[in-house]
Symmetry: D2
Subunit: 157 residues, 4 copies
């Protein structure tokens, strides 16, 4: 439901550049063909054009692709509210698949629900765009953890 | 935790062929490089060799790829216990990412927890294999829905 | 995030009476001291005054009580959009506990995200009220199933 | 699915006493009539006899009561593997309700899946006992956070 964080400021003055640099270093986003569509404090959108090789057996976008863009959007939305020098990892997420993911383009929009020192809770909606219609096809609720970059070694908990 | 379904029989005598045929029709599994490793009544395993283009920004397998194989394994595990002529869709799933997904090979093993007429609850563990070690990196709990194939139209609920 | 269902009409002209009658038949709501605060198509609120005997070991409202009102609110929100003669059961839910549940009063507000023939997806926010402040303490995302009342026997799936 | 933690040792030599003392300080467990049935490193069981005032509108145990014992079992299972002086809070959990919670007695059995320095992932199964039968009625997957007791103030993340 509604995020409580409006008119947020990021503690990291370079948050948008940092998100874009990190996103460019995620090879799977390139493989899928996803791109950053919006980066604001507490809000990130990722767009993914439909491609037949991303489908499941009915031709709909596979839940793995839906989840990939929703999870990355959640992680980066959390990241926009973290101090410089942080890193972010997903702890867990839950996805409800509401309708078949049919469309020409998909957009995952993530909003921070609660930003904490260590843990940040984020929700994301994934919309399918087809012609002039926009349909909600999935919704995610997840938890992200902040890692201080120097110690971003093997164990994230 | 432990599945309660041991020594199960499928109501579909061709369940294994049906799973293999459906899997072969999931283009995203081919894009990722995933393959079916085990198909038994109530249990399915999917294997995915590591590739650099499936990684997130630390070089670990992206949560979207982890989820893609876990979700497909859950869906097919549910499918093995459905009557012939059924179809399966994911309703929802929850993933806990336990450790960085580092390894040469990943295996998602799904087991049915409870098979119902309409809904089937499944859990999956995703393991990373590296040399002789096998590490649990993620665990999923999800709900799959049976669709009677003739009516597998737009609305799955 | 935002519900897509605004200005809804219920297919059951007596939905509000039916919700109130069913709620009155939930003994645990009486044990906890919870009451219905709002019943509209697609939206239900349940209020619960703090009592020391509902607490966990720090004196905060126990997650079980938080979940009880959130789950009942989700079930009844789904129910408001079902035809007369339906019954509703929870399939699954996920709760993020955002802050310690400290307050004089708690309100769970549930909104339908997607109503289907069989399954309805609902989200709920739980707020703590203390003096003039209102704090979001938990958020739920869940799936409810419609049962046709005649067959509401043992197996709900 | 299977916990990976067998033959565990607790870093807290008094873990069992600490769990029992903390449990005794949870008023809601007393209100519900729940008791600790097993406390071992990484594993905790909580038992709850059926009472009519814990039911939902069909007479089954309400999902809030099911969740209350599952969540407390998960928290204490995590706690058994934490150093002395720790405190534990629930971050999030997901519950699948598999069958109507009908029975004379309910037992929530929680097992740690992965214990980390900060976060611990736990799963729990809730069984209904009736005569000589034992039925799995719900399964939980959740995340618990360790708090160092001195700083167990308002913000748990």
């Amino acid at each position: 439901m509604g995020s409580e964080l409006a008119h947020l400021k990021s503690p990291n003055p370079n948050f948008a550049d940092d998100v874009r640099r990190s996103f460019a270093q995620q090879p799977i986003m390139n493989l899928l063909g996803a791109s950053l569509a919006l980066v604001e404090p507490g809000v990130v959108e990722i767009a993914l054009p439909y491609r037949a090789d991303l489908a499941q057996h009915h031709g709909y976008l596979h839940a793995g692709a839906v989840t990939a863009i929703a999870d990355s959007a959640c992680g980066y939305a959390a990241y926009t509210l973290m101090p410089a020098g942080s890193d972010v990892l997903s702890v867990e997420f839950k996805v409800n698949l509401l309708r078949p993911a049919q469309g020409e383009m998909f957009v995952a929009r993530a909003e921070v629900i609660k930003a904490g020192r260590t843990l940040t809770v984020v929700s994301a909606d994934v919309f399918a765009l087809a012609g002039y219609t926009k349909t909600l096809v999935a919704t995610m609720q997840g938890t992200m953890i902040r890692i201080v970059r120097a110690s971003s070694s093997a164990d994230h908990s």
